[in-house]
Amino acid sequence: MASRKDPMGIGLAVLNRIASSPTIDRLGLRKQSEKAVYHGTRAGFQAAGAAGRTFKKVKGSGKPARQSSTGDSGVFDLTPTEDQQMIVGVVAEFADEVLRPGAEAAEKTDDTPKEVLAQTTEFGLSLLNVPEALGGLSEERSATTGVLVAEALAYGDMGQAVACLAPSAVATAISLWGSDEQQQTYLPAFTGDDVPAAALVISEPTPLFDPFELGTTATKSGDGYVLTGLKSGAVRGLEAELFIVSAALEGKPALFVVEATAEGVSVAADPSMGLRAAGLTRLKLDGAPAALLGDGAEDDYREAIRLARLGWSALALGTAKAVLDYTKEYVVGREAFGEPIAYRQSVAFMVANIAIELEGMRLVTLKAASRAEQRQSYAREVALARKLAAEYGMKIGTDGVQLLGGHGFVKEHPVERWYRDLRAVGLMEGAVLV
């Protein structure tokens, strides 16, 4: 009893890590030095994993470790557990004091500062979904906690939030679906002090992309596979040391582990409309050696797609909340015709609708997460949450700019960045997992 960590124990473990690590203040992260702009200017594909480590294969005992799930609680309840409140409190402070003030600078460098990423290692962001037996924080897995954390991070800045969550997505994928050998080989790096950059890569740069109809193919080669194709939306690909990549194996989609240093792997910066701080790249696979993640079950792949979409819905919640809070303040302060513009229904109702749609999409996202957590079917709820996040997330983004008028269109205010970031929500696949 005493040693078992229930889901509520996660928060305490996280807090303990924070208590024993330098605080945000002591790291002096509020004043970021502006780094040289180099990612956006690096043209063309280059060999990946320049600074990458080699992962030494470890033979496992054959049985992978998995986190368990919580049972059906049976009570309608919107109150986060005390531990979830504590975790979110810490993450929200980080988002408020580090991510938000650093957003503009991070965007200019097309990357998230290493100090910021190191900070997330300090509070164990990549450990949330790793089984305790493998150095993680908890025996039980909570998709709800993942959603609350992603939401809180994106309230600060979606681009940096995605960069912070990318290694966690890979660690989560290996924890959930990897073989024992893969867990033993890769997870120690993610539970250590020097968490590698890593990316879960699903998207491909084609119109009407469907993650169940992949252009990238896997073919059997000796003990493993080789992958060929072009992927996109690889977070911080230039820095990444490990990729989990989707490819079609005999016509069916599956996930593969690709080490960045492997032959035939190259990356190119793919600067996009928004999410600049996530350092998006394309990943070219030209007969790249790869290992099937776990046993490549189709259900695992479906789950990966769903949990990633859940993550993007959660990110939309945070950024949309940022828009709501910002516009609320703006419309009350801004005057036209001798009174605050908030006194006009056409303005005030836009803000009301932002709040109404945001609350609706938040509840559907939480329902999807809580069903996933309780091991109930959640495909339907994720699809609905994604639809709402895509539709209303973007609507909130564009209304945010509209409410500020010309001021919303210039970089003096963050709403134009939120507009660009929110466009990503309905189209991104993979990259994050909760």
Partner: protein, 408 residues
């Protein structure tokens, strides 16, 4: 712990409510849509059933009864800090199922009128006993105003131990069939909102009469009456709440009732829209349209993508409604959330039911299916108990912390 599924303790009850809705309401739906103003006698049996359940404490808010915030839930346990799923939640769940059956018939349920909700919410114990068993309608709106309830012209003048009521009330749901009407009237027009009081007026009181019944776009099973009060003398013990005019307290007390009833109307929209969604899905699948939750909507057919969007909006409306009820059950302020639920459910309920008619073509437009009926019924749900625009006004004022003189 965050969980948004139907509470375990209500699942069997919801299932029962669904069967009742299917057998009593849906089964008679078209009949009373066509025979407007005919009394749906099938409901008498159902109403006695609900009375019986309430008396034995098994009702779990099966009817449209009001909610008393001061009392403990049906468990009778005083469990502080424990999350409750109580009568607000079960009432909403019940209303959703009933309106999946038929909105007009739910509104016609004997002894479950809006007046009953008001009585149940604010009456004293003596009054509760006095009005036990009555079927009470609610009369607020007048020919000269709708949303602006403070503009009431109907007067109540004290005369000995009676009040004398004079005025005309419109849009009184069940005004013809009910035994009594809760009438809103002003004691002194010059004192504004604070002077507005409500009175339980028995229909057999001299001076109250039903002037006529409306012919409507939808919810035709429910009668909508014009009621005239002509020197109608009502005993002072029939006044609900305090007889004092407290200018400081203003209108807040009367308006607070809406925090409990708006989630119910949102639930009506949710139930009605679910009926449309279920039927259109069945029709689309028969026509060979598959709805896939994993494939991107952009890669599916227009019909499938439209269905997904409608279902997403519906789910948001459902959960906003449950949130408002959950807050009320847990004694947390829910004014803004109640209005959010009503706004979202009202508009998507209407959008969804209309879109379903369009997707089904002439089959949906024809009386051979219920789709056209549900798209007529849904319209009122975005109007009564506060229009879409009123809900947005309430939400905006709360969000932006503006008064009614600032944000008009």
């Amino acid at each position: 712990m965050i969980n948004l599924d139907t509470p375990k303790k209500f699942r069997a009850f919801v299932d029962q409510a669904n069967q009742v809705a299917d057998n009593f309401l849906r089964a008679n739906s078209r009949k009373y849509d066509l025979a407007e103003h005919a009394y749906p006698k099938e409901l008498d049996l159902l109403a006695s059933l609900i009375d019986g359940m309430s008396d034995s404490g098994q009702g779990q808010g099966a009817g449209a009864a009001g909610v008393r915030r001061g009392e403990d839930d049906a468990d009778g346990k005083k469990a502080k800090n424990k999350v409750k799923n109580g009568t607000n939640m079960s009432s909403v769940l019940s209303v959703i199922e009933m309106c999946w059956g038929d909105v007009g018939l739910l509104l016609s349920m004997p002894r479950q009128g809006l007046g009953n909700s008001a009585i149940a919410s604010v009456a004293t114990d003596e009054q509760l006993e006095k009005f036990k068993g009555t079927w009470s309608a609610m009369a607020i709106t007048e020919p000269s105003f709708g949303s602006d309830s403070a503009a009431i012209k109907t007067t109540a003048v004290k005369d000995g131990d009676h009040y004398v009521l004079n005025g005309e009330k419109i849009f009184v749901t069940s005004g013809d069939r009910a035994d009594s009407v809760v009438v809103w009237a002003t004691l002194d027009k010059s004192l504004g909102r604070a002077a507005i009081k409500s009175f339980v007026v028995s229909k057999d009181t001299p001076g109250i009469r039903v002037e006529r019944l409306e012919h409507k776009l939808g919810i035709r099973a429910s009668d909508t009456a014009v009621i005239v009060l002509d020197n109608c003398r009502v005993h002072e013990s029939n006044l609900l709440g305090s007889p004092e005019v407290d200018v400081k307290q203003g209108f807040a007390g009367a308006m607070a009732t809406f925090d409990n009833t708006r989630p119910l109307v949102a639930g009506m929209a949710v139930g009605c829209a679910r009926a449309s969604l279920e039927l259109i899905r069945e029709l689309l699948e028969k026509a060979g349209v598959d709805i896939d939750y994993d494939r991107p909507a952009t890669s599916q057919s227009y019909a499938a993508a439209t269905f997904l969007q409608m279902e997403a909006d519906w789910e948001a409306a459902l959960l906003l409604t449950l949130e408002a009820a959950w807050l009320a059950d847990n004694r947390k302020p829910n004014s803004m959330e109640a209005s959010m639920a009503k706004a979202k459910a009202g508009r998507v309920g209407n959008d969804i039911t209309l879109k379903c008619v369009e997707l089904a073509g002439t089959l949906g437009y024809s009386e051979t299916e219920f789709l056209e009926k549900w798209s007529r019924d849904s319209k009122i749900l975005d109007i009564f108990e506060g229009t879409q625009q009123i809900q947005q006004l309430i939400v905006a004022r709360r969000l932006l912390n503006l008064s009614s003189t600032q944000l008009k």
